[in-house]
């Protein structure tokens, strides 16, 4: 078969490839208008100056350490002093909690900086490398005892997606790619969930002391 013949037949047959239905004009316009209204009404978060980021990161270490401790092991607060075997388990879990706290702190710092830089239109290439690094930690945490907690697991899974998107950003970035990532972050509220994970009740002493 000649190339010309193949191309002609390809074009003919390809007309059926994902053949679109009639355009839903009015329905689409209504959706566009509604979404634009919603976005106009949504409060915009003002980007913080870089000088505040480290302070926020340090504060986040404290808050998240407490939060993770409360989150993962609320039941253990009320138990009596453990026997030797359970003490070993507690120490082991403490390691996972610390790892999770550190991971969440680093991730929050990264995402906060990423979003602020994305808005400023000046993205630090370091974000991609950091996201790759954190991505492997996410998977490890998901597979660890920390991943057994349903809320933490859900958060980790959402963070995994966001970090994967940042890690896969090409060297020559399309601002639309970056915008889609920040939109995804907003839609899944990952930063809010990171920052507000602060359940009621006293934190385990071990965690506070360790942090």
């Amino acid at each position: 078969m000649s190339d010309d013949r193949f191309e002609q037949l390809l074009r003919e047959a390809a007309q059926d490839y994902h053949r679109p239905p009639a355009t839903p004009h009015e329905e689409l316009w209504a959706r566009i208008e509604a979404e634009r209204r919603r976005r106009r009404a949504a409060p915009r978060v003002v980007g913080r100056r870089p000088a505040w980021r480290w302070g926020l990161g340090i504060a986040a270490v404290l808050l998240l350490g407490i939060a993770i401790g409360r989150w993962i092991r609320p039941a253990q607060q009320s138990t009596a002093p453990a026997q030797a075997s359970s003490a070993v388990g507690a120490r082991s879990d403490l390691g996972y909690r610390l790892a999770a706290a550190q991971y969440l702190t680093r991730t929050e710092t990264l995402l906060t900086g990423f979003r602020a830089d994305a808005r400023a239109g000046q993205l630090d290439p370091q974000f991609v490398a950091q996201a790759r690094d954190l991505l492997s930690s996410t998977r490890l945490l998901l597979d660890s005892p920390a991943g057994r907690d349903a809320r933490l697991k859900s958060l980790l899974e959402d963070l995994e997606l966001v970090l994967a998107q940042i890690a896969l950003l090409p060297a020559v970035r399309d601002s639309a790619d970056v915008e889609l990532i920040t939109q995804g972050m907003d839609q899944s509220s990952v930063l809010t969930r990171l920052r507000t994970a602060n359940p009621a009740g006293p934190a385990p002493v071990g965690v506070q002391g360790a942090l």
Partner: protein
């Protein structure tokens, strides 16, 4: 009314002008989105996002290209990013077939040529599939594709050539039916 006037009025925030621009371009945007997505919900999402972005950024449209070309560039960006997300989600749940999953000599229980062609196009690497859909399916010129995908015209031609070679290989066992 002249499109430049409509753009100027839309930039000034006139809803009727925005609607007129939408009416003039939504068919091609939706068609392209649907061809790329193969799914009505996704096509609607991509079309919606395309117009929202376009209206947001209308001030940045300098008029170097036609408005249609500019809109199609936004559509392809939105669709590509959206499809990557969808693919990532799906990859988590099930292992997708490899890009070369439609083997050249694997004649399955699905003998229909169009179905095989659809599967073969779906299995193309994304950048090849994009060019095939835009050029061979939707009839865009290489110049339009190059602008939309932000590549050189030669790159668009080369990718189409490679894509067709892959399709030929994937459909080799149908050669007799193509000829007949």
């Amino acid at each position: 009314m002249d499109e430049r006037d409509l753009i100027a009025r839309a930039r000034a925030g006139e809803p009727a002008a925005e609607r007129a621009l939408y009416d003039a371009h939504v068919d091609r945007v939706y068609r392209l989105a649907y061809r790329l997505a193969g799914d009505d919900d996704l096509a609607r999402d991509f079309t919606q996002e395309t117009f929202i972005r376009a209206f947001q950024r209308l001030d940045t449209f300098r008029g170097d290209s036609r408005l249609a070309t500019w809109l199609h560039a936004i559509t392809t960006t939105v669709a590509l990013n959206g499809l990557r997300k969808v693919k990532r989600f799906r990859t988590r749940e099930t292992a997708l077939e490899a890009a070369d999953g439609v083997a050249a000599n694997k004649r399955t229980a699905e003998p229909d040529l169009k179905t095989r062609l659809r599967d073969a196009i779906d299995a193309l690497p994304e950048k090849y599939r994009m060019v095939v859909v835009m050029h061979d399916v939707e009839g865009y010129t290489h110049e339009e594709i190059a602008t939309a995908l932000e590549v050189e015209v030669g790159t668009s031609k080369a990718q189409l050539s490679r894509a067709r070679a892959k399709l030929r290989a994937a459909l080799a066992d149908f050669a007799g039916e193509w000829v007949s």
